[in-house]
């Protein structure tokens, strides 16, 4: 069993509205799994089903090979997008309460909380009320509460919203470290640069259906267009440019560089290898820049959603 969480053709309707239609995903152990999709696609419904907040109409969810049961609550840590805490409750009491709801003993929760509060340097907030904290500060508490009981599966819904860049980085590093320690992470966000940065796997849900799924690199390979970005220098640049245009499909390119005369995106066909292109170029000019253009997660997202 290499998958920590498997959703097997899960469907859910609210009245006449089908929120999820036969969605299957498999989240490998130790991965960071990006759950993507436009607003209202059904991501939150799926996350709520995994958290046993709502029940699926059809299909089943397996956690570590077992059908999802109420006992699994303690194996999952969930940071919802709509977050909040009891405003008039003290930070420490509240964290203890939430930890106990996740099945931790009071003493254990206290020790773990102390560890986390020291780590994030928020120890002196223990007796403050949530309403005295700023939004970002409350988010930190919320993060601690989510990971406190060392769940196998962590679900973060837009974890960085509301954080300044420094704290966002801090939380990002914590997430990566939790993964190192063996946790599996499901990560739902609209910020594609953090998908690019963190996720190994992604699944894209659109209009209640899963439309894309797999390793991020595999998907990128699928979506690649065999285009290379090149920067060349030559004394006879116009002549070289003319020659290239005759042999390949060429698009203008913009990238920052010191002194490249020719900047191009060159698309090659299946029969041509990158080496062929490179030798073609080296024969005619000095190659300063040669990079395969890979589609960004952002490009893939937009292309998939608009094509469906």
């Amino acid at each position: 069993m290499n998958d920590l969480l498997v959703a097997d053709s899960v469907s859910k309707s609210y009245g006449n509205f089908k929120a999820l239609n036969q969605v299957s995903i498999a989240v490998p152990k130790g991965s960071i799994f990006g759950l993507l999709g436009p607003n209202g696609a059904g991501k939150t419904t799926l996350i709520r089903i995994i958290n046993q907040i709502t029940m699926p109409d059809e299909g089943r969810i397996l956690l570590d090979g077992q059908d999802l049961r109420p006992e699994h609550i303690k194996d999952i840590g969930y940071l919802p997008e709509e977050r909040g805490l009891y405003k008039s409750m003290k930070v420490g009491e509240q964290a203890l309460y939430l930890a106990q709801l996740k099945g931790m003993s009071k003493t254990e929760a206290k020790t773990r909380l102390k560890y986390w509060f020291d780590k994030l340097d928020i120890g002196d907030w223990w007796n403050k009320k949530i309403q005295e904290l700023s939004k970002g500060q409350a988010q930190k508490i919320q993060f601690v509460v989510t990971v406190l009981h060392r769940p196998k599966l962590l679900i973060f819904d837009e974890p960085f919203s509301g954080f300044d860049p420094i704290n966002a980085n801090l939380i990002k590093d914590e997430i990566l470290q939790l993964r190192e320690e063996g946790a599996t992470v499901i990560f739902s966000t609209h910020r594609m640069e953090s998908v690019e940065e963190l996720c190994d796997h992604i699944a894209l849900i659109h209009k209640s259906n899963k439309v894309l799924d797999g390793k991020l690199n595999d998907i990128k390979r699928q979506y690649k267009t065999n285009t290379f970005e090149v920067g060349l220098q030559s004394n006879k640049s116009e002549e070289v440019l003319h020659e290239i245009e005759n042999s390949f499909q060429v698009f203008p390119a913009t990238f920052k560089n010191l002194h490249d005369d020719i900047k191009l995106n060159i698309k090659i066909d299946e029969a041509t290898s990158p080496n062929d292109l490179l030798s073609f170029l080296t024969a005619r000019a000095e190659v300063h820049h040669f990079v395969e253009v890979l589609p960004s997660a952002n490009d893939i997202f937009i292309e998939t959603v608009t094509n469906n």
Binding site: Y14, R48, I53, Y78, R83, M89, L101
Partner: protein, 437 residues
Amino acid sequence: MNHLPLIIKREYLTKVKNRSFIVMTFLSPLIMIGLIAVVAYLSQLNKDKERSISVLDESGYLSDAFQNSENTTYSYLEGLDLNTAKKLVKEKEDYGLLYIGKSISLDDISNHIKFYSEDSPSITIISNLERKIEKRLREIKLQQDGVSMQQIEASKIQINISQESFEGETSSKMDNIVKLAFGGIAGYLLFMFIIIYGNMIMRSVIEEKTSRIIEIIISSVKPVQLMMGKIIGTSLAGVTQFVIWVLLGGVLLVVVTAIFGIDMAQMKTPQQDMVDQVMQNQGAQAVAESLIIAIGNLPLLNLIIAFMFFFIGGYLLYSSLYAAIGAAVDNETDTQQFMFPIIMPLVLAVYVGFFTVIEDPHGAVSTIFSFIPFTSPVVMLMRIPFGVPLWQQGLSLLILIGTFMFAVWLGAKIYRVGILMYGKKPTYKELFKWIKY
């Protein structure tokens, strides 16, 4: 995992530690007692006010009809005409002038009686005067017909029917008064409790929604558990507050009475008139004795047990509905449309209790309403002091518990869907849809 005790503990502690809760707990009895003291003081003030009324009697029939009383002195004006009398009374700053004009016969006299005063006189004073005049004239008329004063006195008879059931249990009017008091207090207590603490439950559900913590909580516990925890925790806080109120109120009442020497017993409410009637007929000693006997006559054990069951059952039934409402809406202003159907049966129950049960505790209306689960807790509690067969109590309780379970199921359904719904003001149609999800 059973988190119910944990949730109850949190709900209880947050409620009890809440600043406004603490303030209300200790301030309310003070305000109540203060209010009672002020009312008592004012009514005493009113009573102590002395009035003098002048009487100008030209008919000659009512020359000794008006005896000075504690607060009212009557002075007869002789040999003045009406205008001079009016002027004189105005100068004397008397309360008013009662004028009885000349008339041909006793029957005609009522057309010639007038009361002149600066401000419009109070109803009690006027009816008091009327009563005195009527009494006097009746006596005169009887005397004209040849009945002597002694005969009139001797004709007055006091009746105090003693009651006995076919089984041989004796009871008195005092019994009924005590029964009414017990039933009334129990029913009213439940009514107040539901309104105050039902609202508190509703607010605490709404608070969880608006602070958006709800999704985190219900990823750890089942909505039904959360709902029950809230209901029980809030109720315990309510009981705590109630007990403090009763204790503090009692102590304060004693203190205030002692300090200000205000005799609370002097305050009259319409209900007390009945008590007074009984008291008039018996000495104070006898009243105290019959009171003790009357309390002893109550089915006390039955009363206490029934009180506990119906109180808890009724309270839980209503509070699960309150919790469901809290879950269905986003903020307190949206609750109005759903509050009405909840308050209605409650108010109805209290009305039925206070009007029908008092009139006829075992009549059709009282009996039916003591079986309908939304009114039964209040109505049955008011009926039980009058003796209700155990099978009726049991059946009513069963219906109540059944309805309660149904309400919890229904409430939990609405709760489960509602707590995650934001931004929509739900309609009844939508609520119905939620139940089916």
